[in-house]
């Protein structure tokens, strides 16, 4: 069995995001494996540990993404492919086309990815890859059971659980709760340094940069105003609340 995991290096979610000149400032920022992708990596390694599988990582991003790939290798993945681009595109259609070419060559039985990336948050790339390659797809998976080429996935359906059965080859995107990702051990990290990591350029994949969407500007959300506290008895407060909802917020 071959498992390909799509992995993106993103901002550390603990970091303070600084926007300068309509762009997120990257200087001095910490980068991590996109947390949802980390669940995908963990799941792939667990499948490998319970049977026999090769786990291949594919990432699209600048050279620094190697750190994220090495970390996933240290967790237990076997090898990695980095599609290197110092000015990575945010156009999901183009990125999906690139990644699809790389995935196609690997011909995986299972394609695993995060539900979405915590930076751009579009949740499109993995689905587009599956679409291009004609693979089945189950999104936001919380529990996964494999039996031969039969796949049973429990997915997060807006708070409820939906059970989906399908067959390999399949794309599964990981939702928070799928597992508890391990952290790399020291022997794991040392082994990871010697694991193969291939670098490819978009050109080598034969894909020309073509973007149908562009990021025009990035800005921080407006600061939250302090809340209003309504005083008085319950009856007075309720009356005042209804008045505010009607006259100020204009929602009722």
């Amino acid at each position: 069995m071959k498992i390909v995991v799509l992995l993106k290096q993103t901002f550390d979610t603990e970091e303070k995001v600084v926007v300068e000149g309509g762009k997120v400032k990257e200087d001095g920022a910490q980068f991590i494996i996109n947390p949802y992708d980390e669940y995908a990596v963990e799941e792939a390694i667990r499948i490998k540990e319970s049977g026999d599988a090769e786990v291949v990582l594919i990432s699209y991003g600048p050279a620094r993404a190697e750190e994220a790939l090495r970390k996933a290798l240290a967790m237990g993945a076997d090898r990695a492919i980095l599609i290197e681009d110092e000015t990575p595109s945010a156009d999901e259609a183009y990125v999906a086309e690139l990644i699809a070419r790389a995935v196609e060559k690997e011909a995986p039985d299972i394609l695993l990815a995060g539900y979405f990336s915590v930076d751009n948050g579009a949740g499109q790339v993995a689905l587009r890859v599956a679409e291009r390659l004609g693979m089945n797809h189950v999104g936001a998976v919380l529990k996964l059971t494999l039996d031969g080429d039969r796949v049973r996935a429990e997915r997060d359906a807006e708070g409820d659980i939906e059970v989906v059965e399908t067959t390999l080859p399949v794309l599964l995107t990981a939702q928070q709760g799928l597992n508890d990702p391990r952290y790399p051990s020291l022997p794991g990290i040392m082994k990871a340094k010697k694991k193969p990591l291939d670098r490819l350029t978009p050109g080598e994949l034969g894909v020309e940069r073509k973007e149908t969407t562009q990021v025009i500007e990035q800005y921080l959300p407006p600061k939250k105003e302090a809340g209003k506290i309504i005083g008085g008895t319950a009856e007075e407060a309720a009356r005042e609340l209804v008045r505010l909802l009607r006259e100020e917020a204009k929602v009722v």
Binding site: E14, K71, R182, Y183, P184, S185, L186, P187, G188, I189, M190, K193
Partner: protein, 399 residues
């Protein structure tokens, strides 16, 4: 910033990154850990398990015995990082020290028996040398190990034994020949001492908690040995020359305490700087802008980096198998500067915090006793200076 000028290997830098990665992951649990360590005097088992899973104890053990063989410096870096997050672990220090005693002084069979379990983090070990009437002058200890066929029988009383209740084994230092006899025979006072790995569940061994403060998450105990039977193959090193092995193991203990001091200093300075940048007292200027606040912190930063260099140097010397006295000199210098600096740093961080320095919420006041302890234990700083004066400057021994 981590010791830019010090030539750490890739593997050693990896240790730092791996520990930082782990601690980053555990950050949401930090308050719960602090409560357990500083309020309940209970170092969380969970953290020990994380250290094991990370392979930190494996770092101490050569590959031939199931470890990764990274050495003491790797553990030194790791202990510093834990302490830098307020999570210094003294039982891990003691386990390291005992592991080094087995590694340097054990037989092949002992190494094969104990080291793999240590590498997996399955063995926790305490160390028992101090007695109510034999502290700094440990040669005068009264605990006696009497040979009885193929076993030893240990009797005596130990005190200030850290984490004995949480340990699987305690490495007990005992007299194999009473002190008076050794002196009467004109032998060196260090002769006639042995090291014994005693199962903490052994019959005849009992312990009583001491009401002490100062070890993060661990209590200290009186240990009563009443004719405790110890198999001969649990003796580490020569029957009468156990001191040789012991002195080898005391250096790693000092080095790891120094690392803990360096880490604590980092914690204190980071908290102080963070608080001072946010705290405004007069107008809109943060107190961090005042030189009266800055300079003491800057000065401590210098001392911290110096202590760090000494600590790494000592660990590196140990890993390279340099002469014990050479390692000892650096281990003692590191321990001295790191402990003095850590105490001052916690004190200064409290001062920077004003009244909040005494609020439990800011944790600093709770670290005061652990910081203070390092000036006294594992050896007091006056004895450390005696050692340095004698060994580095060739000055006469005063005691």
């Amino acid at each position: 910033m981590l010791a830019i000028g010090f030539m750490l290997t890739d593997e050693q830098r990896t240790v730092i990154d791996a520990v930082e990665e782990l601690l980053r992951k555990l950050k949401p649990r930090q308050e719960a850990y602090f409560k357990s360590i500083y309020d309940d005097q209970h170092y969380p088992d969970e953290l020990w398990e994380h250290m094991s899973a990370l392979g930190l104890f494996g770092a101490l053990v050569p590959e031939a015995y199931g470890g990764s063989g990274l050495g003491l410096l790797a553990m030194t870096l790791a202990m510093e990082r834990f302490a830098a997050h307020g999570l210094g672990n003294v039982l891990a220090v003691l386990t390291t020290m005992d592991a080094m005693a087995i590694l340097r002084g054990g037989t092949e069979a002992q190494k094969r028996r104990f080291l793999p379990a240590i590498a997996e983090g399955k063995l926790r070990m305490a160390f028992a040398i101090t007695e109510p009437d034999a502290g700094t002058n440990s040669f005068r200890m009264r605990t006696l190990a009497r040979k009885d066929g193929s076993v030893y029988r240990l009797s005596g009383r130990k005190a200030w034994i850290t984490g004995a209740d949480r340990a699987d084994y305690v490495l007990v230092v005992a007299r194999t020949i009473p002190y008076e006899e050794v002196i009467a025979q004109g032998l060196r006072e260090r002769y006639g001492m042995g090291l014994f790995l005693v199962d903490t569940k052994a019959e005849g061994l009992s312990m009583q908690a001491m009401e002490t403060v100062g070890i993060e998450g661990f209590r200290q105990f009186f240990l009563y040995l009443d004719d405790v039977e110890v198999p001969e193959d649990h003796r580490i090193g020569d029957e009468h020359d156990g001191a040789e092995v012991m002195f080898d193991a005391l250096n790693p203990e000092r080095i790891l305490f120094a690392a803990k001091g360096v880490g604590m200093t980092e914690y204190a300075l980071a908290r102080a700087a963070e608080y001072a940048k946010a705290r405004r007292v007069f107008g809109d200027t943060p107190i961090a802008a005042y030189q009266g606040v800055q300079h003491p912190l800057a000065r401590l930063k210098v001392l911290q980096e110096a202590a760090r260099m000494l600590t790494y140097q000592a660990a590196e010397a140990f890993d390279r198998g340099r002469a014990r006295s050479e390692v000892g000199l650096f281990a003692n210098m590191a321990k001295y500067l790191a402990s003095e600096t850590a105490f001052e740093a916690i004190d200064r961080a409290i001062q920077t915090h004003g009244g909040n320095g005494f609020s439990k919420e800011y944790h600093l006041i709770r670290m005061m006793a652990p910081a203070r302890l390092m000036k006294t234990a594992p050896i007091n700083n006056e004895m450390v200076l005696n050692y340095i004066a004698e060994r580095a400057l060739g000055l006469p021994r005063s005691y």
